[in-house]
Amino acid sequence: MGNIITAKNIVKRYSKHVALNDVSFTVPEGVIYGLLGPNGAGKTSMIRIINQITAPDSGEVLFNNEKLSADHTKSIGYLPEERGLYKKMKVGEQALYLARLKGMNKADAEAKLKAWFIKFEMQTWWDKKVEDLSKGMQQKVQFIVTVLHEPKLLILDEPFSGFDPINVELIKGELLRLRKDGATIILSTHNMASVEELCNNITLINQSKAVLEGNVTELRHSFKAHTWEVKFQGSEDAVRSALNGKFELIEMVPEISLTVAKIKIPDALNSNTLIQTLLPSCTILGFSEILPSMSEIFISAVKRNQPIPQA
């Protein structure tokens, strides 16, 4: 499969700062793609460029290998971080309006909307004014409006903020289903747990630059510290003395009827030597490698790119 988005050397300057400095990345088709980065890193600027809300000062974005154009807006669904609806307008009428702005015809939009309203159990909301809905309810309406025209590319900026846990699960389920049906989703979020859970690939933007790009599993393996978790029964002291000198014991936590140890394997050795070392001293119940969380990767990547403070 090809790449749905190819961003090449994007530069975006505002009067007082550079929002994006030579950012390039590619989003393969059919994945959930995480666009990560600390606040103010330039994520929203990038998203706005893909949505053609603003134009880059230099560089270009390709959509399915074509230069981005007005025709592509109907193939993109966008849920901005700061989102709202017309307060005085009725829910159904408003959803229809926004759907038609995306190029849907009225009958089609109405039929699909009704189906979504049934799916999300909100049939009774159709004639309510938006101002009479709770924030969570409004978020649901916004989500539906974003996906209604079945876009090839969905761009969601912090989609889970403002939802309760039940609705977060509902939305996550929908995102996974949409990916299965062939949509590509760009997810911008600070919620690293949901990145691990949902995203196939990520780009990390920090201080206007793309500092990390790749597949989530591969990234976690490349950032791993060769640390293993060992669950065992037996004498803690015996294990300690067995490890002595060869392996680094990070911590040892006794639990009910077993002990959990975290052990770092030096580069010269591997997991088999660790098992061989431990075998005489205890009964091994579990043995697994600890991969870094996305959160740890995020923090270490951001710190690594921090400019060195001037003395």
Partner: protein, 442 residues
């Protein structure tokens, strides 16, 4: 439907469906009609029968004043002392005592009553007394009636501009009304555009919308949609106002016919000859109204309505688009209503200036200041409209219109540049310098 069409439709329907639109549409012309007709109606409302008891020390008026449909003169107390007559009728409603003291000139006549008999009665008494006194004096000087009629003159200036009968006062009223309407509409609806822009920005719906349409489409959709609301409102006003005018004049004409007929019947009953001059003496005000209406009719005919209405629509729409684009840019640049102040002032200044200068333009429609104001684009919608009814050189009109059109294109482009950046700027106060930079953002 095209995207801009959808936007226009939404802007239009959400506004027209509002209750406030209905209220303003109906109340507007009623208030206007009320302002025009209220004074006439008020002076015509004292219709209860009035009895005027005449106390005449000069012995010349007793029996002279003529009754009409509502006023009945009582000559039974002519020679009785005024103080005692006043006492008799002190508490009687609808009875007045007319006291004519002994005096050569008869300049000070007094009317005593419990309640105000109304303007009609007073002016009728004055008119008849003056007439009587005049005739008496002329008779004393041995002038006969035929001679008097010959001497009386009535001069009217007929205003001919370019060989067409016109009326300067009327042109002034027309120019004033038309340009004032333009002023009101520009203000009313440009501010609505600004509010709409701010609503979308503050609601944060704008980012969703401009991911579907270009900001320029959104801005123009709003400007056109709200403009159509203004036109609709205006059309409703015209129709209702026209209706109210016709109902009003029909009512007034009915009022005028009735007292005359009643008076005629009364005179016939008494067996006195029906005298046309007497009839017109009955209620001098009626004659004024009939005359005024004839004048209005003549003036309506003298106006070049194609030019006036065409000019009105052109400057109405042109001025509105020019200013609403500027107001849209202001709305996009701020986060809060209170912040609009700093940008509103320079935008509204030319509008207010033109309304201030309008007074001088109307008194002197061909002065240098009038010509310049009607050519400079930010003031021309109001200034030129004030001049159009007076008749203006074609080259001035053409110049003013083409400059306005050119300025509209430039301003809309400029406003669009500011608008598209401003919409997404939150949380900081914007300076003019910054607005300037926005123009060059990609």
């Amino acid at each position: 439907m095209s995207k801009i069409g959808l936007i226009i439709q939404r802007e239009y329907t959400t506004r027209v469906r509002k209750k406030s639109f209905l209220v303003i549409s109906i109340l507007g012309p009623l208030v206007f009609a009320g302002l025009i007709f209220a004074p006439i109606l008020i002076s015509n409302t004292k219709n209860e029968n009035q009895r005027i008891v005449v106390v005449d020390e000069t012995k010349t008026i007793c029996g002279v004043l003529q009754n009409n449909s509502t006023v009945h003169y009582d000559y039974g107390y002519c020679n009785i002392e005024v103080a005692s007559v006043k006492k008799i009728f002190a508490d009687s409603a609808h009875v007045s005592v007319l006291y004519i003291p002994k005096s050569e000139q008869m300049v000070q006549v007094q009317l005593f009553s419990k309640d105000d008999p109304g303007n009609d009665v007073v002016s009728s008494i004055e008119y008849q007394l003056n007439n009587t006194l005049e005739r008496a004096k002329m008779k004393a000087e041995n002038l006969d009636q035929a001679m008097i009629d010959k001497v009386k003159s009535s001069v009217k200036v007929e205003d001919n501009v370019n060989n067409k009968v016109t009326n300067t006062g009327y042109n002034a009223v027309l120019g004033y009304a038309a340009s004032f309407l333009i002023y009101i509409f520009i203000f009313l609806y440009s501010v609505q555009v600004m509010r709409g822009v701010m609503e979308e920005k503050i609601n944060r719906i704008v980012e969703v919308i401009i991911s579907s349409v270009r900001p320029f489409q959104l801005m123009m959709g709003k400007v056109i949609g709200v403009g159509l609301v203004g036109l609709t409102q205006f059309l409703i006003w015209v129709i209702l106002g026209f209706g109210a005018y016709h109902v009003g004049t029909a009512y007034l004409q009915g009022e005028m016919v009735n007292p005359q007929r009643a008076a005629t019947e009364q005179t016939l009953k008494k067996g006195a000859p029906v005298d046309a001059t007497n009839l017109s003496h009955m209620n001098p005000q009626n004659k004024d109204i009939t005359g005024a209406m004839d004048n209005v009719d003549n003036m309506l005919r003298s106006t070049n309505w194609v030019l006036v209405i065409g000019g009105f629509l052109f400057y109405f729409l042109g001025g509105y688009i020019l200013y609403s684009a500027l107001f849209a840019a202001v709305g996009s640049a701020v986060d809060q209503e209170t912040e609009t102040q700093q940008f509103m002032l320079p935008v509204t200044a030319p509008l207010i200036l033109s309304i201030v200068v309008m007074q001088s333009i109307i008194t002197n429609p061909h002065s240098t200041i009038a010509v310049w104001f009607s050519i400079i684009p930010l003031t021309s919608p109001i200034a030129m409209m004030a001049r159009i009814p007076f008749g203006i050189p074609v080259w001035q009109l053409a110049l003013s219109m083409s400059i306005l059109i050119g300025t509209i294109f430039g301003t809309v482009w400029l406003a669009g540049r500011i608008y598209r950046v401003g919409l997404l700027m939150y949380g900081k106060k914007v300076t003019y310098k910054e607005l300037g930079k926005w123009l060059f953002y990609k």
